[in-house]
Structures are given as C-alpha cells and as structure tokens.
Symmetry: C2
Subunit: 218 residues, 2 copies
C-alpha cells in the first residue's frame, strides 16, 4: 500500500496510526503542501485525488489498484478489509459513539484550522496573524472542550476514548491534540483528553505515526 | 425515535433523508438555532449533546434510550440497525467511495459554511456581508467542483452518486445543493451533481425531508 501523505497533515496522521494499529505495511509517498506551489495541486496528484487534499491511499494488495481518499473513509475501509484488531466496537450504539467522537474532530475542529482555510483568512480577508491564531485556538479549544464534556460523563471511557483498546476515536484525537499543542492551545481544562493522549503516546503504533518520525519530516 | 432538528440545518436534513429512505418513523423536536439566543445552547439540549449542534437522534425503539449525535454517525447507526434498504454498497472499495463523497461534503464544505462560523467571521473578524458571502461561495463551489470531477470520471455513477439506488452520498449531496442554491452559488459547471440532485428530488423520501416541509419551517 502507498500512502500519499504530508508529515504534518493530521488527516494523514490518523491513517498512519490506523495502518500501524492493524499491522499493515505501507510506503509513504510525500506530498509537500507548501513547496512547489503545493504539490497537492499537481496534475499527477489531482488525477489521484481531485480534492487536492492529503491523504490518499493506494491499495494494490488484492491485485487491482484501489485509490481511496478522505481519512475516515480510508480507516473504515481498513476496518472492512482487515477487521482485526478492531478499531470500532461491535455494538451499534457503541460504534455510533466512537464514530461521533471521530467526526466531532474531523468535521467540527479540523476543517476550520486546515492550511487552505488559514491561507484564505490571511490572503483573501486580510486577517492579522494574531486574529488568525485566535481563530485557530477558538475552534480547537471549543471543539476539544465539547469532547471533554462528552467523555467526562460517559461510562464507556477507559484507558482510551472507548474502553481499553484504541479505536477510530483515538486515531483522530491524538493528531488533533498534537496540532493543538503546536499552536499553543489551552488544554488545561481537558484532563480526560490529555490522559488518553498520554496513554496512546506510549504505544508504538502512535509513536511511529507521529509527524516527527515521517520520512518527509523537517 | 426523536430527531432534534432545525429545518434549515443541512446535517439534520441528511438524517431526515436517511430515516425516510429506511422507512423509519420519527418525531421532530425543533431546536431553533436563532431564537432565544440559540436553543442549541440551552442546558437541556447541551445535556443531550454537549457539542450544541443539531441533529441529535434519540432511539428508544429497543427499550433503552440511545442518544446519538453527528449526522454521519447517526446514518451509519441506522445502517447497522436497519440494514435494508442499504445506504452503503457491499464491496469495501465501493463503501469507501460512497463514504469519501459524503465526507467531502461533511468535512470539506459544510463546516466552513456553518452558522457559527459565519457568525465568527462577522462578529469577531469584522468581515463584510459581501466578503462573508464570497467565503461561503468559495468553499461551496470549490468543494462541489471537486466532487463533480470525481463523479464525472467514475464509472460507478448511475442515476445516483453510486449506481441506481440512493446512498449515504446522496443523503449528503442534496442538502448541500439546497444550501448552495439558497446562497446563489454558481452550479453551472456541475452537470453531474445537478442531474443526481434532480433524480433525488422526485423521490418521496427526499421531498418529505426538505427544509420547507418540516414542522418548524418558516
């Protein structure tokens, strides 16, 4: 499998964690989001993914090449094709709970703090560096506080977001916390999230997936 | 089942379509996002959904009450609990394709044009009405153009986004097109999307789910 990825992309980071948790080998194909006017906009990459976003996963393990985009769709595909170890619970309500945590990050936090959005704020709306960073922290802190509120009152929380094995929710949480820390967000009111993050970051699957450990890390 | 919903919320609209396609009866509990300072911020609603976003679905059909949030997690739950008619294909690669289309809308378009985000632009960043509308159209048109590019070159497209029965992707596409039309986005370069939208809008499940046909419509 080939993962088209940028070391700092948190959507790519999610997929790297899932691949590692499932013990699946993959080759990283770096797509630099800043150099060469953004390599994601190249004709070659756009042919693979017209959205011009990373990650994309090309799976040739079953013969025919399958090109997949959207981090959560890719992780669900890995779950469908390599069910063990499971990243989703068996029970429908529990699966919905884990998916809702993942989507709270993937829909309610990350899209607002994406590189292309921050660029639009600065270049098209003349937003100052200070206001841009305040925007970033606002959505990140508000979104994580909501998830903290959910987790702190749900009996299903264990060592990880759901029970005592990592799930799709943890695959999304850890990259978001890494982004939050890089942008100096206030995480002091999120003890549950930080405890889970710490529990994940002692696992080899999470450590190997971290931005600093990628071949294209700077 | 009770659906906490706002008639104009496109995330609520997605769930209404899915419930209708599966033939599941539900009671709408209106949550007005503008009146009373935003009913989604009330203590009662926040207890149900700490994210203070609609929709939320309360399913008491199996005895115990299950509260679900995040539109895509809710639809996946309906798929898990009421598999027929299926809103996802059987094949893993096809499922990933349908999910990626849904996520391209739910992650890459809709979050940027959400009410709370538009409010932040105006109130916190002093963005003009004109620039706010340009922002809306930018993300909507760019995102839909990417999906048009995907669909126009994929042999799996049929009457709907995937084949000849509606899927999760159509549940997301139709509400996004409705938003785009309401905000006067340019949809002239999206013939495939518009053809699919038209095919959906002759189906009773989609018509009954439309904002104008909700009990809280204004």
């Amino acid at each position: 499998m080939k993962l088209y990825s940028y070391f700092r992309s948190s959507a790519s980071y999610r997929v790297r964690i899932a691949l590692n948790l499932k013990g699946l080998a993959f080759e990283t194909v770096p797509v630099h989001l800043l150099k060469n006017g953004g390599e994601q906009f190249s004709d070659a990459y756009r042919k693979l993914n017209p959205n011009a976003l990373v990650p994309a996963l090309v799976d040739d393990s079953a013969g025919d090449e399958v090109t997949l985009t959207q981090s959560l769709a890719i992780i669900e595909y890995l779950e469908d094709t390599h069910p063990e170890p499971a990243l989703l619970p068996q029970n429908a309500a529990d699966r919905a709970y884990v998916r809702s945590l993942a989507l709270s990050i993937a829909c309610d936090i990350h899209p607002l703090n994406n590189l292309r959005v921050l660029r639009y704020l600065v270049h098209n709306l003349n937003v100052s560096e200070e206001d841009k960073n305040a925007w970033y922290r606002h959505w990140c802190e508000q979104g994580l506080a909501s998830i903290e509120a959910v987790l702190s009152q749900d009996a299903r929380v264990g060592t990880y977001c759901f029970g005592d094995t990592p799930t799709l929710a943890d695959c999304c949480l850890v990259p978001q916390i890494a982004n939050a820390q890089r942008l100096n967000c206030d995480l002091s009111r999120m003890p549950t999230l930080m405890r889970i993050n710490d529990a994940c970051m002692v696992l080899d699957a999470f450590v190997r997936a971290a931005p600093g450990n990628q071949p294209d890390a700077e």
